[in-house]
Symmetry: C2
Subunit: 372 residues, 2 copies
């Protein structure tokens, strides 16, 4: 699975793996793919430095990258002050806070202990936090910087290019992709409707070739619905220079979801058990459908708040649901491919299956084309 | 593009083309594909016989099929009477009828002339009409009978098999596909989220392999998002034995949409200009997004009625919108692939592009696999 892009990056397979877990990202790079560590959860720069140190020791010299969330549009407080978490907190209506508490109470979710911090924070979505992450990351030999929402700011693109780091950005439409290209990025990740996390409405089968044509000659990675080698072959047939996989790593043996109940839910879920909901961040993101997403998507409820308010509003609640493993509410961003995530494999095992499936799909296509 | 299924049916390319236009269906079969004529609009058996006579004269001896809409669950009136169109008419609330008239008035849509019949009828959705179509169709050498909604009734499957006719049925999920397999059908059409017409929520990239595995060894046709040879290659890489294309034929030169304004709208539309709406039939069906679909999908409006009420409710309105080409309301079922339908080609021109794109995708995959 070698394309121009994978050769340029010096990896064996044009398979990019996005994951919040350093152990998974390192294993992806060791297996011949390109591991991309999601940085959104690192609010303290030291924590990110510690995990990048660990990565550096465990990738066997293979290349890897980092994924940040840096909106091009800066949220500003009155008087051009940079918006703080406290500013955002103050914008959340009391009725929405009550709805969170009522929903948790209804499901018997315990409170966190006094002084216990919420593990899941949304502040990684805010530009000043992402910039702190970048100050750390550029001290490491990362080869790719991916931006998950919107085009990265011009100075960040310039700084990355000065360091020889390629810049990627996710897009859910051809228009969105062209904006990224105009911002000077190097790689577009075409994120299809079926993908986990923030998605648009256009499915991969249509989106991948559309984005590929829109930004040519920039390389495109296909994201959304890919978990097997046959799906890798399909994405590459559509013109992608590689694939971007996220969901499939949630159930690998190297992953640490901190909740066996959540792992069990993922292994049991079908492709129809996800929903594109604003419940987690305020923007549509595909995730497991739960009684929590149902509550937010219920027309009788208060509805969700815009980003970044919704994320801040639910951050502690999500931590409590995860900590106490309250099954009906327990969810995670994940794509429709969750229906095929039915066993726990190692990262290497996933790669073995990907290469085998890819080879068999190519053999089959050659037969259909009368070439063998 | 030769699979076991295309060989079995005696066609050159594993490309199945669904269309309401006999001229298009015949041209698909002549071009080496498998033309499938949609029968839903034929309420009079004689009209269907006339068009099948025409097909018979114009397919140059190539095989073709018919698509009917026959719900497995029979709608019954009180007292086990078969439900008539008048029964269904009587179930439509007056407020919904007023909403139709108000919306048409708001957009200045003229009435039909006195005694002028509505061209578009929903009655083809009703079982007794579909059975009338079958009585006609089995007099012709059709090779395939497809059912667009649900599994066909057991006696219909038996009758088709007696005549040597293969039976296909559309499915939007693996569960749905297994039900079809249990009903004894021969081919499953896996209809992805991005497809035009009635669709589920699972996109083709995930649905195709899932359905293929669920009903193996039955052959599966991939539907949804396919308009290029690269997309054919992708669908076949996912395990399909062929592709089922519908939208792409709407803008071929042989098609007769009876409205240049609608053709222009289709040629101009982007992949984001469709919506999965209940406006047309009462079940979610992908179609051009228009002010008509917006009115039905508006939470402030009365909402849609269940099938078959909605279809009967809007039938005359749709005819009026089409006849008078009222652009803001003018729509049609079509998939997200509409974004790539940007020029009028002949059916043969579409096939030339499909084969060229397929060959180039296979060549590219071989290079990526290090085979050439």
């Amino acid at each position: 699975m070698q394309t121009e892009l994978s050769k340029q990056l010096g990896v064996e397979h044009a398979v990019f793996g996005f994951t919040p877990f350093p152990a998974v990202a390192a294993a992806i790079s060791r297996a011949g793919g390109f591991g991309v560590l999601g940085a959104v959860r690192y609010t303290a720069p030291d924590d990110l430095a510690r995990d990048l140190d660990w990565m550096q020791e465990h990738v066997d010299g293979r290349p890897y990258g980092l994924d940040v969330v840096m909106p091009a549009k800066k949220a500003e407080a009155p008087g051009n002050r940079t918006l703080t978490e406290a500013d955002v907190e103050a914008m959340i209506p009391a009725a929405h806070r009550r709805f969170v508490e009522d929903t948790l109470t209804k499901h018997g979710v315990p409170s966190l202990a006094e002084g216990e911090a919420s593990g899941w924070r949304i502040t990684g979505w805010m530009e000043q936090v992402a910039r702190g992450q970048l100050d750390v990351a550029f001290d490491y030999p990362i080869k790719l910087l991916a931006n998950a929402l919107g085009s990265p700011p011009a100075d960040v693109v310039a700084r990355a290019h000065d360091k020889g780091v390629l810049v990627a950005a996710l897009a859910g439409s051809a228009r969105h992709a062209r904006k990224h290209a105009d911002a000077g990025i190097d790689i577009v990740v075409a994120q299809g409707y079926e993908a986990g996390g923030h998605t648009g409405e256009i499915a991969s089968m249509v989106l991948t070739p559309e984005v590929t044509d829109a930004v040519a000659p920039l390389p495109v990675l296909a994201a959304g619905g890919i978990g097997s080698g046959e799906q890798v072959a399909a994405a590459l047939a559509l013109g992608a220079q590689g694939v971007w996989l996220g969901s499939v790593w949630l159930t690998v043996t190297e992953a640490d979801l901190h909740s066996r109940a959540l792992t069990r839910k993922l292994l049991a879920a079908g492709s129809g058990d996800t929903v594109r909901s604003r419940a987690l961040t305020g923007k549509p993101a595909r995730q497991l459908r739960t009684e929590w997403t149902d509550a937010w998507d219920d027309p009788q409820g208060p509805g969700t708040l815009p980003m970044p308010l919704q994320g801040l509003l639910v951050a502690e609640a999500v931590s409590r649901i995860q900590k106490y493993e309250v099954e009906p509410l327990l969810g995670t961003p994940v794509g429709q491919i969750v229906g095929r995530m039915n066993s726990e494999r190692s990262v290497q095992g996933v790669f073995d299956d990907l290469t085998r499936g890819f080879e068999s799909a190519v053999t089959r296509l050659n037969r259909i084309a009368g070439r063998g």
